[in-house]
């Protein structure tokens, strides 16, 4: 479904991604593991078109999408949950959801009403401003917002960051629930969490993929664990 071929991405002069390649098949949850600054978020942003790569190719659903702006990616079925959550702070929960639904213009399972039923916590907070939610609530809102594009694939960038363990458990349930319908690429520092919900994983370090394998392979490889993941 998604194929990233040897992309090189820069921030100004600094060469952040130095040839990242990865693949995600339909129905999979694939995690991208690595430390802060290893290039996880940049990979996600490159795929989404927020920071287009200077070299390399990205194929989504069989077509090349390298360099397409984010809104065109959304139209093709890609949704993105950014690392720092980024709800629209002065829009209410409901407006945050509405805007996403209107903007994406993709019909499918999810509607604003439907999603509020699935996330009862958001239903209770529907008139609250996005900026007045707690971190966990914001995280749920942003995932719900992404789902309203009725995506075929979801990019989840560090959903656990800064969340209390109880919320992380909640999040785990949500991901396990939606992965039945949506293909997911998950960037995480929290390897135990990521490996609980993923089928396969890549380890990224210094802008390069250092290791890839199934969940079992990653769990079994001690060198990877101690060297890259600090488990």
């Amino acid at each position: 479904m998604l194929e990233v071929k040897d992309i090189h991405t820069y921030y100004g002069d600094s060469h952040v991604l130095q040839g990242v390649s990865l693949e995600v098949n339909r129905g999979e949850v694939v995690c991208l593991l690595g430390r802060n600054g290893a290039g996880k978020s940049t990979t996600m942003k490159s795929i989404m078109g927020l920071v287009p790569p200077r070299r390399g190719h990205i194929f989504f659903m069989g077509e090349e999408t390298t360099g397409l702006p984010p809104y065109r990616m959304v139209k093709r079925g890609m949704a993105y949950v950014p690392e720092d959550r980024r709800v629209f702070p002065h829009l209410t929960v409901e407006e945050n959801l509405e805007v996403a639904h209107i903007a994406a213009r993709r019909e499918g399972r999810w509607t604003v009403k439907g999603i509020l039923e699935v996330f009862p916590m958001l239903e209770r907070l529907r008139h609250r401003k996005g900026g007045h939610l707690s971190g966990g609530e914001q995280q749920l809102l942003v995932i719900a917002r992404a789902l309203l594009a009725n995506p075929t694939m979801l990019l989840l960038d560090e959903p656990c960051e800064g969340l209390a363990p109880i919320i992380v458990e909640e999040l785990e349930k949500v991901i396990l629930e939606i992965r039945r319908e949506v293909t997911i690429l998950l960037a995480e520092q929290n390897a135990p969490f990521a490996l609980r919900v993923s089928h396969r994983g890549y380890v990224i370090e210094k802008g390069r993929i250092k290791f890839q394998g199934t969940r079992e392979e990653l769990l079994a490889n001690e060198e990877v664990q101690s060297r890259y993941l600090a488990l």
């Binding site: 100004g12 600094s14 802060n36 600054g37 290893a38 800064g162 969340l163 209390a164 600090a230 488990l231």
Partner: protein
Amino acid sequence: MEDRTILSVENLSKAFGKFYAIKDVTLQVPKGEITALIGPNGAGKTTFYNVVTGKYKPTTGRIVFEGREITGLPPHKTARLGLGRSFQITNIFLENTVEENILAALVAYHGRGLSLFRGLNAYRDLKEEAHEILEMLGLADRAREVAKNLAYGDKRLVEIGIAMAGHPKLIMLDEPTAGMTPEETDRMVAMIQGLFQETGITFFLTEHDMKVVFSIAHRILVLHQGSLLAQGSPEEIRNNPRVREAYLGGSLDA
């Protein structure tokens, strides 16, 4: 006790609206040691830095540095008293050269900022000192490079260099190894340990990487949801069940 403590914080709170980023934190930082403050993202570490160094005014509480109350003093005053800090997000003067980055801090420390009519090049002593600092950081050959062209790890070193150039009595590092590769992290840890042994400055740091924390800190403080959860020696923290439960999870087993 009194003279062993360089920084003492009493009942410190900082609220943003209704949300308390720091709640009633009391702690002491002993002189001549490396103290680490740990806690999950969002625990309030950076807010703690910002309140202590004067970027934010605390909502309540008292901060005493070297026996002198500094509560609410602005950053330029706390810096002049000897409180140096580095930032989590690289925070240097990107369009200036590496040397100028360090020189700016030296100019400030030596009180030469208001010298208008003598060229910078005439200040041999400052240049030499800047050179020494760059040498110490291993950046001497990059002195004339514009800072924005440095590699990420080197930018982080410049960050430390700016803080060191202020001749601090207490240096507060905010995640010095954030985003670094293992090699860069090792280099940074060695650098911190080297600086500590050479200068005897008191270090205070926050850090994500538990290996780093447990290898260099003499004392560890754990912040959780804005409150101090525990403090003690690395051994005590390692074995504290509340800490393990709330934050560390499995990550201490390495």
